[in-house]
Symmetry: C2
């Protein structure tokens, strides 16, 4: 049987590698000394749980059952200023479930901690390489903000590498994670069973107008790039409301004006436009509205309109059978206090969906806070999530 106290104790021990900041903060970016020490400790726990420890060249750490098995896990690297749960929760929950299953004759369970999910070098880099969406050669050329190449950074854990792990040995993948949003915390629910991981579109938009003196240029003769952005934003908010669902999101998170001075009418604005939805058709419809609105604003205001490259990550549906097992278990553990919901954030499960059936479950994030030292979840909810994962896995045998 699972032991919630042991699971929580392991979580606190893992937090000790890179413990920092206020509350339960952690600084454990991929390939840092804290990350390597954490993986060495995890490898020892995997071994003690009767699993065979393997690490691939990227630093993805596996604890393997022989023969076909269900893979559970997440990632143990953190954001530059991260919390104690995030990916660590899914790894330690997987360890506890594997321990219980191995000891108690449950279904065969293997465990994984992927590397660089937090994107020191890219986006979910470790699982992207393992799932074949990024070559090791391409990954090695990626650099972090300080200019360090991934190829050089991963040399620091080379002594732990054993070789490739064949994905075909796994029958599916379940990832437990904190929600990283406010939905469950606000509703007082304990469990979210993920239906889809949303797709993302992201592009830079540029309006080029006319830089001018903010005193001598009459309002009627201005071609003010900030006014274009603001007008675009206002129109877009109105228009998107006709096509979106409450789960759709869109964000202008980055705005750069030129020359960005109080006495000068801005001649140029470059801004980010990002939108996410679980439905690829809706993402496309949103894109149409974005482009139509930008073109209309540019034409009305005498702006040149430019687009950067469109980043596109497709939405991923969770596997129906694994999802159903999680729903049944959630109803047993937290009757009436769980919901189906999309994941607005990317996860390693996105990459693994190319290889095998995947599913995810969420526990609440207090205040919706994550990627911050303050990130936390009530220990009762952590234990409930562990229980749901364990029951779901057992129901699949």
């Amino acid at each position: 049987m699972i032991e919630p106290a042991r699971f929580l104790s392991d979580l606190h021990t893992l937090r000790g590698f890179g413990a920092a900041g206020v509350g339960k903060g952690v600084v454990r970016p991929a390939y840092s000394q804290a990350d390597i020490a954490a993986r060495q400790w995890l490898a020892a726990q995997f071994r003690d749980a009767g699993l065979r420890v393997q690490m691939d060249a990227m630093g993805n750490l596996f604890g393997l059952r022989e023969g076909p098995s269900l893979l559970l896990g997440s990632h143990s690297d953190s954001q530059p200023e991260g919390g104690w749960l995030d990916g660590a929760l899914g790894v330690v929950a997987a360890l506890e479930v594997a321990r219980a299953c191995n000891a108690g004759g449950g279904p065969p369970v293997s465990v994984v901690s992927f590397q660089d999910e937090e994107g020191r070098f890219g986006v979910t880099t470790g699982s992207a390489v393992w799932s074949g969406q990024l070559s090791l050669e391409e990954a090695d050329a990626l650099t972090d903000h300080a200019g360090v190449a991934l190829g050089d950074a991963r040399a620091a854990m080379a002594q732990m590498v054993t070789g490739d792990i064949d994905p075909s040995r796994f029958t599916g993948f379940i990832e437990m994670h904190i929600e990283q949003g406010p939905t469950l915390d606000a509703s007082g629910e304990q469990i979210g069973v993920v239906t889809d991981i949303v797709g993302i579109r992201d592009m830079k938009i540029t309006f080029d107008g006319q830089q001018n003196h903010a005193g001598t240029t009459p309002m009627a003769l201005r071609r003010d790039a900030f006014q274009a952005v603001s007008s675009f934003n206002t129109l877009l908010n109105d228009r998107l409301r006709n096509v979106v669902t409450p789960q759709s999101v869109w964000t202008i998170g980055h705005v750069s004006l030129h020359p960005n001075a109080s006495s000068i009418v801005p001649g140029r604005a470059v801004f980010s436009m990002q939108w996410r939805d679980a439905d690829a058709a809706r993402l496309a419809r949103m894109e149409e509205i974005i482009r139509e609105t930008a073109a209309e604003v540019a034409s009305e205001r005498g702006m040149q309109l430019g687009y950067g490259p469109l980043l596109g990550l497709e939405p991923v549906q969770m596997d129906a059978r694994l999802q159903a097992a999680l729903c049944r278990a959630a109803e047993e553990v937290a009757p009436g206090r769980w919901r189906r919901m999309p994941s607005g954030a990317l996860h390693d499960a996105t990459n693994l969906s190319r290889l095998m059936p995947v599913a995810m479950l969420f526990v609440p994030s207090i205040g919706g806070i994550s990627h911050a030292f303050e990130e936390d979840t009530d220990e009762k909810d952590l234990a409930a999530g562990l229980d749901v994962l364990f029951r779901a896995v057992n129901s699949l045998k």
Copy 2:
């Protein structure tokens, strides 16, 4: 009589000090080698015109007639990337008018080139010190973008300094300048007689909301600081239209989002709000609307609202008698092709209005462009401006 060819030749000679960039560009910031050489050349021209050359400690350069005289001029320093006219036009026109008046028995005219009008160190620094609104000690402590103190920079022209020049010797000040806006160029007019130099209000406004994950935070739960700025801007544009005139302007020229990343809902926005009008009461009414609108947006969107210090420069009315002389002369030189208009930009005349009657006249800026290498004015319009200045001065004797 004035000699337009000599005047244009002098303008081109002065452009040679710091000539740079495309077209007729100039790089001649205050106290640069080019600026000092230009002032040495100007001093020689003043002397040749029968004027007594004086320079105060700031580097304001005067060519003086004995006894009471009308002061004409502007400034010969330039923006870091400036044009050949800007302040240089007013100085060279003043020189030509003084030359003609001295030779032809016209009214006594003195000439000035103020220092650092373009604000390497402050705002119209030279005339601010001369008019007593800034002490030399305060000015010396001002630093440029590179950290150089004005007190150190002005040492480079110390050998030219002769001593203070008493403002009470002057009966008034007339400054000829390029418009630096598109109004005259767009209407095909040759002369603008300035009615007022507008007042300015400028402050930073801050909205503090909640930084969040752009994927996991539902739209309805966001406190997005960029959305607050955009909403404020849209509401403000609507509301100001009820109180402004076609000469009023307002500008959001600087926007800084935090953390300014495409995947993060911005938690904080700091932006500049600047407005200008010739009527102090209207400036105050605009401020009320700005503060009401910001407070309303903050309250509706759960933002903390903050204000930086309010920069206030009062509007200045041009002297009625000097203005009337310019209008009569403009109608003689360019019948039906001139207008009364406010100045949306600050000028040395703003400071001098504390000391004596002041007036200004504008010539067109092609395309409304200034503070750029491309700045230019048709030579016919330059000559027309010179003629208006000369006739107005003579009508005042």
